[in-house]
């Protein structure tokens, strides 16, 4: 028996999803708004990065469905629930979560990283690396069977991935409108990928990226239950599990911060540019003041304060998950409140230009109210800037989380995040042999996410910003 739990961050994610869906619904019939996005998905880089980001988002969303398990009933008592909040991802990764070794082990290792005193077959004691409890435990002879087993399982997994890709493929083709009868005849001489390009409007790169992702997923599914693909950390937890769990934290910081930042940046930036005069003076004073404080220090100061407040009111948060959740939200809030100045300044400059434009003058000649001018004439004409900034900021925020967690003002030390993974592992580089896999995994997962986001952001900018067309 389980009971769903809605953490505050989950609620905000729902809100975010709901507003994105609303915007898409509003824009569905508007060719001017839809055009750039279609162009984006036709672009090979745009299509494949969008897919990679979608995979990350899917993992993050699955990790945002939280529940608690019901403890075994004791007769005569009301049902009790475990204090440990789990997520859909935890459930899906149950073997990874539960296969906890004693301490470090290298990727694909069958033996522990540290030597222990073991009983030899002859009954005598010897110091050696013990076999892992889970990693490669099914192998009778770890040395002889390792490679054949790895190749068989890996091969089967990738084969499954390939099959899945082939199953998916016709879905894309049928998903496009168009006269199937008419195209059937002309389709004969064309490769499936060309057809996909022509009908579905997606770049062929999309299909190749999908293939790569499915092969990788097949490989992971086949191997992960039996091996620690990325090794284990100091307390023996699977690093692949940790890496996957870190994704939600990174995504949250990147997106919720924006949610906090946008109202400030939009409201204050546009108002400053449009009204000018005193309003402008006050808003400029505000953002110069905020800007003058070194960013990390301001964030640190605010996080320290929040931390003290959370500790002082520990009774409000009944689970560890709820506590780290509040800390995460506070961090997003702080990053948002301190981070609106850049976009606000950009919007102020744009509003300053727009208010002199003749269509705004024409609206004023009609006696249209200020609020309507702001809403109908200014806001829609700066939305592309907002969107470009939001997408560009996202990757910066994901990277910032790691640094802040290192400084000690990031997410809760108990929360799984890229920053905490790096922080926990950086001192282990001094060991012999080097424990590199935890760092490498965190950096790799972060790199793929940020690279995809950066490339995607470039494409968004090219599609939306008329000025940037022609240069990269």
């Amino acid at each position: 028996m389980i009971k769903p739990v809605l953490l505050w961050s989950d609620a905000l994610i729902l809100l975010l999803l709901w507003s994105v869906a609303g915007l898409v619904w509003l824009a569905r019939n508007n060719e001017t708004l839809r055009g750039p996005w279609r162009q984006l998905l036709r672009n090979p880089v745009g299509a494949s990065t969008a897919l990679i980001l979608a995979v990350y988002v899917a993992i993050g969303l699955l990790d945002s469905v939280h529940y608690v398990e019901r403890l075994p009933d004791t007769p005569g008592q009301a049902a009790r629930y475990s204090g440990e909040v789990r997520s859909g991802l935890d459930w899906a990764l149950t073997p990874l979560r539960e296969n906890v070794e004693k301490t470090y082990s290298a990727p694909f290792a069958t033996h522990l990283y540290a030597k222990e005193t073991l009983k030899g077959p002859d009954g005598g004691e010897l110091r050696d690396f013990p076999r892992l409890k889970y990693g490669g435990a099914h192998l009778a002879d770890a040395r002889q069977d390792f490679w054949p087993d790895l190749l068989t399982r890996g091969g089967l997994g990738m084969l499954a991935g390939l099959i899945a890709w082939l199953v998916f493929f016709p879905l894309f083709q049928r998903g496009s409108e168009g006269d199937l009868v008419a195209t059937a005849s002309s389709a004969k001489n064309k490769s499936p990928l060309t057809l996909l390009w022509e009908r579905g409007g997606l770049a062929p790169a999309f299909a190749w990226t999908l293939l790569a992702i499915l092969l990788l997923v097949g490989l992971l599914i086949a191997l992960a239950p039996n091996y620690h693909i990325l090794g284990t950390d100091k307390v023996g937890q699977d690093v692949l599990y940790l890496s996957l769990k870190s994704i939600r934290t990174g995504l949250l910081i990147g997106s919720l911060t924006t949610l906090v930042m946008l109202p400030f940046a939009l409201g204050l930036g546009i108002a400053a540019g449009y009204f000018g005069g005193r309003v402008d003076d006050v808003i400029q004073y505000l953002y110069t003041t905020l800007n003058s404080i070194p960013g990390v220090l301001l964030i640190a100061a605010a996080v320290l304060v929040v931390q003290v407040q959370i500790e002082a009111h520990a009774e409000l948060f009944n689970t560890a998950a709820a506590r780290s959740d509040v800390r995460l939200l506070a961090l997003c809030g702080i990053l948002g409140v301190t981070g609106w100045t850049g976009l606000a300044r950009l919007l102020r400059a744009e509003a300053l230009k727009l208010r002199e434009l003749e269509f705004v003058q024409a609206a004023r000649a009609f006696g249209v109210t200020h609020s309507r001018i702001l809403l109908r004439h200014l806001l829609p004409n700066v939305m592309h800037l907002v969107l470009i900034t939001v997408v560009l900021d996202f990757s910066g925020l994901v990277l910032a989380e790691a640094v802040l967690s290192y400084v000690g003002v990031g997410v809760d030390p108990g929360m799984i995040s890229f920053g905490n993974m790096i922080n926990g592992a950086r001192l282990e580089l001094a060991r012999e042999p080097v424990v590199w896999w935890q760092l490498a995994a965190a950096f790799l997962f972060m790199f793929v996410l940020v690279l995809a986001a950066n490339l995607f952001a470039d494409q968004v900018r090219d599609a939306l910003d008329p000025k940037s067309s022609g240069r990269k």
Binding site: T32, L357, E358, F359, Q361, A362, A363, R364, A365, F366, G367, V368, T369, R376, H377, P380, N381, G470
Partner: protein, 626 residues
Amino acid sequence: MKTPMKGLSVENLSVEISAGNRLLKPVEGVSFAIGRDECVALLGESGCGKSMTALALMRLLPDGARVASGSARLEGEELFALTEAAMGDVRGGRLAMIFQEPQTSLNPVMTVAEQIAEALAAHRDLSGNAVSAEAGRLLEAVGLERDRLAAYPFQLSGGQRQRALIAMMLAGEPEVLIADEPTTALDVTVQAQILALLRDLQRQRGMGLLLITHDLDVASDMADRVAVMYAGQIVEWADRDSLYATPRHPYTQKLFAVLPRLDRRGERLDSLPGRVPPPDAVIIGCRFAERCPAVFARCRKEAPGFHESAPGHFARCHLAEAQTIPPFLKGGPGGISTHAGVPTAANPPPPPFEKEGSDVLAVRDLAVHFPIRKGLFRHTVDHFKAVDGVSLSIQAGETLALVGESGCGKSTLARAVLRLIEPTRGEVWVAGVAVGGLSGEVLRKKRAEMQIVFQDPFSSLNPRMRVGEILEEGMAALLPLTAAERRARIAQLLDQVGLPGDAVGRYPHEFSGGQRQRIAIARALAVQPKLLILDEPTSALDVSVQAQILNLLADLQAAHGLAYLFITHNLPVVGYLAQRVAVMRAGRIVEEGPAERLLTAPQHEYTRLLLDSAPGKHPFVGQVGA
């Protein structure tokens, strides 16, 4: 066409631009020649490929564009075969070019001296004091004081900048100078000076001058020979006198016919329907066929050759082959009727609107002063008097033209009349009510009576709103109409300004400049104004489109008895359209009177200067003795 040994000869030049997966051909098969000692005008409307031709000759085409074929020989030397380094010696040396925008064409952070010295260093073997001495000489040659050498571009006026740019380009003692719309961004008085300077320099130095312009009058003043361009091709090529006396190509004839002039008052202007074909269009026949009043079956099947219809007079037209031009413009028996539905000069002018006698707009002693702040606490030390005591009045059905050069305060005056900016003093009455005393809801309602149409058809419409929403905005704010009534009125408005009904659901970027200006006019009309302020409504448009808009404005005035305050710098338009003219300078009106009197017998010396500076009356060519 025979190729002169001297000067620049261009043969069969084509330029291609690859944009995405489309291939554009903005210039296709262009041939012409400029001898030393002569000025050739490359004449055409926007987008016809004339600037692209010039940039191709300089080998300065933008990224993505390239010369696809053709040759350009300077004194017999093939420019397209030169290495980039060798071309560097030619560029700014034997072949130089000046540009349209003096505001942006000079490097803002270098002095004039440095920028001239650079050119001297690149093309002349000068050093030390000789450089600055030569730079000074060049400045004097273009009519600037030697002490301007130390000036930065921002310290110079527009005309001075253009002179400085010319000086830079003379540094290499060019054999041919290309001038790309050199005076389009300048005021008419400055334009006259710069044109005179160019002509003088061309004479003195014996260089060839390729003048790129859209202005028929400028070309007629300056050019010895004229090439008319349309849709990437040269359609006519002739001596100036021959071309202006008997234009052979229907397009050239149309260009003459659509010009507004004082002697065309009250007539409807001829118009040129349709649009220039886009540069990626696949055209089998004649490029002008779709818009041609003389089109016949062969035009659509076969591209016309370049025929010599009179000695030295070429036209790219099947009709020129026969060496007879049917008198289609006169509508004679051999003529071909003009496009159906397009009114021609033969149509009777609309009946004049009955005057009511009372003023729709009356302005008394209006002034707009902007404070100049200085010092520690930014206190006001002086005022910039943008508008300084202006009085004028317009009656219903009347057009008052407000003429003046840039910065004279005419646009500020318009905005002050509409109370988009607050006047410093003075009174504005609209339909008998003093607007200055109004506020809040009363002012808002009053705004329905006074509306404005702006110059730039691109920035005057919100790109994120559909045409229907744009037209509805004013009605929703000012008129007590239901949604259904508003929809009906929008349909009626679109019809009135000659736009299709389905425009309602489309966005502004789907329309051409002229169509956008129609939308802007419909937007202003939507609230049934009595006064329409037209702030340079046609100066961003091509002459053929300008004619359509002027006709529309005349129709609307006749139908609704609108009072127009027509702000412009274009004197021929004034002569054609306005009953009365007010000439404005430095915030004041220096002369006002009926259009015929003011344009033919000006009293004030500034008015005379404006009229004398207007191009089209002083063919420099005629002054040449032998």
